[in-house]
């Protein structure tokens, strides 16, 4: 084997190792996510100070997807999620999320309700993609949990 081909093989080897390391570190490095608990309703809610109107941009997006006209933010939580251990987010007293970063903006979300595991979902949050858990509630209302990625802190 000539020294030139030896060098080429060595470079290819290093590139592959770097790619492998990059993939591993991408999953290990964290991303910032936000979970918003949302009430969806047809009737305006004016006398509850704990509820505030959801931001217009998100409301517009939810309106285009669901039948409800009004969306109120109940709780909003931010967290940095990593690849090794899931990050626990208590979104309400009975409902929590455990989110794990799988790399390349993909997350694995475990939803727990009333202390019992409910579901496990995998989704990519790249480019502002939303992951929404929802369910019907009383009086033709619904609860939603919107999960999205936040830009990294500088």
């Amino acid at each position: 084997m000539s020294s030139r081909s030896f060098l080429a093989s060595l470079i290819a080897l290093l590139v592959l190792l770097c790619l492998s390391a990059a993939r591993l570190s991408a999953a290990e490095s964290g991303i910032r996510v936000e979970a918003i608990l949302v009430w969806a309703t047809h009737v305006a809610k004016t006398n509850d100070a704990s509820l505030k109107v959801l931001e217009p941009q998100l409301t517009k997006k939810l309106r285009s997807a669901y039948k409800w006209d009004l969306y109120y933010e109940v709780k909003r939580k931010e967290a940095t999620v990593f690849g090794k251990d899931p990050t626990h987010i208590q979104i309400s007293e009975k409902c929590s999320l455990d989110i794990k970063h799988l790399g390349e903006h993909r997350v694995e979300v475990h939803l727990t309700g009333k202390g019992k595991a409910v579901s496990r979902s995998v989704e990519s949050l790249a480019h502002g993609y939303l992951m929404v858990f929802g369910g019907d509630d009383k009086n033709d209302t619904a609860w939603l949990i919107v999960i999205r990625e936040l830009p990294a802190k500088k």
């Binding site: 004016t46 409902c95 929404v132 019907d136």
Partner: protein, 168 residues
């Protein structure tokens, strides 16, 4: 008979002498019997060679033909470089490089394939049989909805329904 005279006779036979010298040789031949005999011998020899020598037609030009021979002589006579014994590591790299390369590819593929095992996008698994889920993935909206439903009321959220929210 002198050697120079013999050479002159040869040149005379080959027609290589100037006219004056050729005349002198002709005179000399008339006087010297030994020279006549030698000339006859030389003529016979030339005649014999002419008949026996096969004419070879070269497939290429004469210069090129001889340059090939010259190059071949040079090549054969050139001293061969003494083969030095290479260190062990250089002999080892012959096997080490492909093996390590294959190993690196295997590691990369392993990480790529197995690090994402069970991570199909939009996939939802339910942990309990009491609940159902409908997953709707919309690339155009940039949103995936996992709609969960219970046998009874959905009470995942502990937040009470706002007072003002009334059935329509």
């Amino acid at each position: 008979m002198e050697f120079d005279a013999q050479l002159k006779l040869q040149a005379y036979l080959d027609g290589e002498l100037p006219a004056a010298e050729a005349r002198e040789v002709a005179k000399f031949l008339a006087q010297d019997q030994e020279a006549v005999l030698l000339l006859g011998e030389l003529r016979n020899t030339r005649q014999a060679l002419k008949g026996a020598e096969a004419m070879v037609q070269l497939p290429e030009s004469r210069e090129f033909y001889w340059s090939k021979i010259s190059r071949e002589i040079d090549r054969v006579e050139r001293p061969r470089p003494v083969e030095q014994k290479r260190p062990f590591i250089f002999r080892l790299q012959r096997f080490l490089v492909p093996v390590t390369g294959a190993l690196a590819v295997a590691v990369f593929l392993g990480i790529t394939l197995f690090s994402n095992s069970g991570t199909v996008l939009g996939e939802t698994e339910l942990a309990t049989e009491d609940m159902g889920a409908i997953t709707f993935r919309s690339e155009s909206e940039g949103m995936t909805t996992v709609w969960l439903y219970d046998r009874g009321d959905s009470e995942l959220s502990d937040e009470p329904a706002p007072d003002s929210v009334e059935p329509q």
